[in-house]
């Protein structure tokens, strides 16, 4: 008898969910909203600013080619390599800037912590899949582009369960 009651109660709790709103995020049409504009770091206070750890963004007008990001990455993933760029900046005499291989990068953000000149941040961009390994290597010119990521929905909790909207 108790078995039958148990099964009926289990079925009942499942049937209740027919009235619950859909939780699925319809990904290519809808995209998630994140907090902030990407993970950033303030070297003066030594504390970061909360944000999504996605693809990096490099500000060419601030980078001095000091290689601190590459040194920070050396023991982690060796994803950052310093390459020559065809630009002349007064503060970047060697004309080298970081180039990031996202096939190796683990998105830990410790290179952002290492940068003392507010020039390497992370962004909300996460759509990086590629057909080739070479397509994952982002040159300084590619890194300078600010990604335009659509952000539509976030989790909302209502009377009829959690949903996106």
């Amino acid at each position: 008898m108790s078995t039958a009651v148990g099964i009926i109660r289990a079925l009942n709790s499942g049937v209740k969910h027919l009235a619950v709103k859909r939780f699925t995020l319809r990904y290519p049409e809808q995209k998630l909203k994140f907090v902030g504009d990407g993970f950033q770091f303030d070297p003066q206070t030594g504390v970061g600013i909360a944000g999504q750890k996605g693809r990096h963004i490099l500000f060419h007008d601030k980078c001095t080619g000091c290689q601190l990001c590459a040194i920070a990455c050396e023991g982690i993933a060796e994803a950052i390599a310093m390459v020559k760029v065809n630009e002349t900046w007064k503060h970047n005499k060697k004309a080298i800037m970081p180039q990031i291989d996202f096939g190796k990068c683990v998105f830990c953000g410790l290179c952002v912590d290492a940068c003392p000149f507010y020039c390497l941040y992370m962004t909300n961009d996460y759509e990086l899949s590629s057909f080739t390994k070479e397509g994952l290597i982002y040159t300084p010119a590619q890194l300078a582009v600010k990604p335009s990521v659509r952000q539509d929905v976030e989790i909302k909790i209502g009377k009829r369960g959690a949903t996106h909207g």
Binding site: S2, R9, A10, F34, G38, G46, A50, A72, F107, M122
Partner: protein, 377 residues
């Protein structure tokens, strides 16, 4: 077409009565490990776990990296419990470098650790559901897990590999109006957890499959050195958060959950009760947390430990998780030893599966709260 057998694998001679059965590594019920089982009809005669498919040499590699570079490395063994595996590392390094952590950072750490425990336990529960053929129980925890993942993502910026804790505090402060959002989602989640009771834990079908399967007595649980939910399901009251409180666990209000049965049902129920306690801890921590203040003690760029050693342990999703660090006045540690709950719970698998029916294998195997990557390191 005959496939060339890889080195180290050979076809065994078939016995009349006792058959050798390989479960894994490519098997829906095994994960990335192999169980070599000898079965007599439907009964398991012996079981020999064969881990090591994901051995990546974490401990050796930690000797070549400095204390900050080790952070992303040491969280990889359990990526869906990454706050809890970094916790003992940070505590031990803080002991070595003699750093004081700000009060607010301590509360945020406890909160992140409890959120992460829920994320881990819900993933574990989802897989336990699908192992037992209960696919609703796969969908519900996987959906509710996303609520906590969203909270942790707002804090740290990544879905599972947060790299959020550092020696000296945390990497960034929590975003604005996080408290309110956290409270709302935790309250909602607690309501959802009550629904699990009806569909899963009081479900007679599930009870028949798990009750009495793989009973571990109290004496055996202590003798075999199990930890965490396995130990607490056998009636031993041991929780590192209570026995050796770290950070601010002393001041928080929660209880240790202990069951006496020691079977798969009790082992699957203890993490569930722990999740309810986690909700209490999060709410309490949100109330007692200082509203503003520093969250990170500034370190030197390349900190050096003294000629010293440190051992700290915390209660992770799988049991007590310890980190033993030896330093020899260099920027890199001399030795890092991770003592994990998964591997200690793996040891009791041959004892539990002996004499069980083959159909009980998934129920017993996954109730041990075992994550193969962590056991292999």
């Amino acid at each position: 077409m005959t496939t060339q057998l890889p080195p180290g694998m050979q076809l065994e001679k078939v016995d009349d009565r006792i058959m050798t059965l390989n479960v894994g590594p490519q098997h829906p019920g095994s994960g990335h490990m192999r169980l070599i089982m000898k079965v007599d009809g439907d009964f398991i005669v012996s079981c020999d776990p064969d881990p090591g498919y994901v051995h990546r040499g974490e401990e050796k590699m930690a000797e070549y990296r400095n204390y900050i570079q080790n952070i992303p490395h040491l969280e990889r063994p359990v990526i869906h419990d990454s706050c809890n595996i970094l916790y003992p590392y940070c505590l031990a390094v803080e002991d070595l470098l003699a750093i004081e952590v700000p009060e607010r950072a301590k509360y945020i750490r406890v909160m992140a650790s409890e959120l992460n425990r829920c994320v881990y336990t819900l993933y574990w529960l989802a897989i336990y559901g699908i192992f037992l053929g209960h696919s609703t129980m796969f969908m519900w925890p996987m959906g509710d897990r996303e609520l906590f993942i969203d909270l942790l993502e707002a804090m740290s910026g990544a879905r599972v590999t947060h790299a959020y804790f550092v020696p000296g505090g945390i990497r960034n402060d929590i975003p604005a109006n996080f408290e309110e959002r956290c409270l709302r989602q935790v309250n909602y989640f607690e309501k959802r957890l009550k629904e699990y009771e009806d569909i899963f834990y009081q479900n007679p079908v599930l009870k028949q499959r798990t009750e009495g399967a793989g009973i571990l007595s109290k004496i055996d649980a202590i003798r075999l050195g199990t930890t965490g939910s396995v130990l607490r399901a056998s009636g031993v009251d041991f929780d590192v958060r209570k026995k050796e409180p770290y950070d601010v666990y002393e001041s928080l209000d929660f209880e240790t959950q202990v069951l006496r049965e020691g079977d798969s049902y009790a082992r699957s129920r203890v993490p569930y009760l722990d999740m309810l306690e986690s909700c209490r801890i999060i709410r309490d921590a949100l109330k007692k947390m200082p509203k503003s203040g520093s969250v990170r003690t500034k370190l030197k760029p390349n900190p050096k430990g003294g000629n010293d050693e440190a051992y700290r342990r915390v209660e992770s999703g799988r049991g007590s998780l310890g980190m033993y660090i030896v330093s020899d006045s260099k920027t890199e540690p001399y030795r890092v030893k991770i003592s994990v709950g998964s591997f200690r719970n793996l040891i009791c698998m041959p004892y539990l599966l002996k004499g069980e029916k083959l159909g009980n294998m998934p129920a017993v195997y996954w109730s041990l709260n075992y994550w193969p990557v962590e056991a292999d390191r």
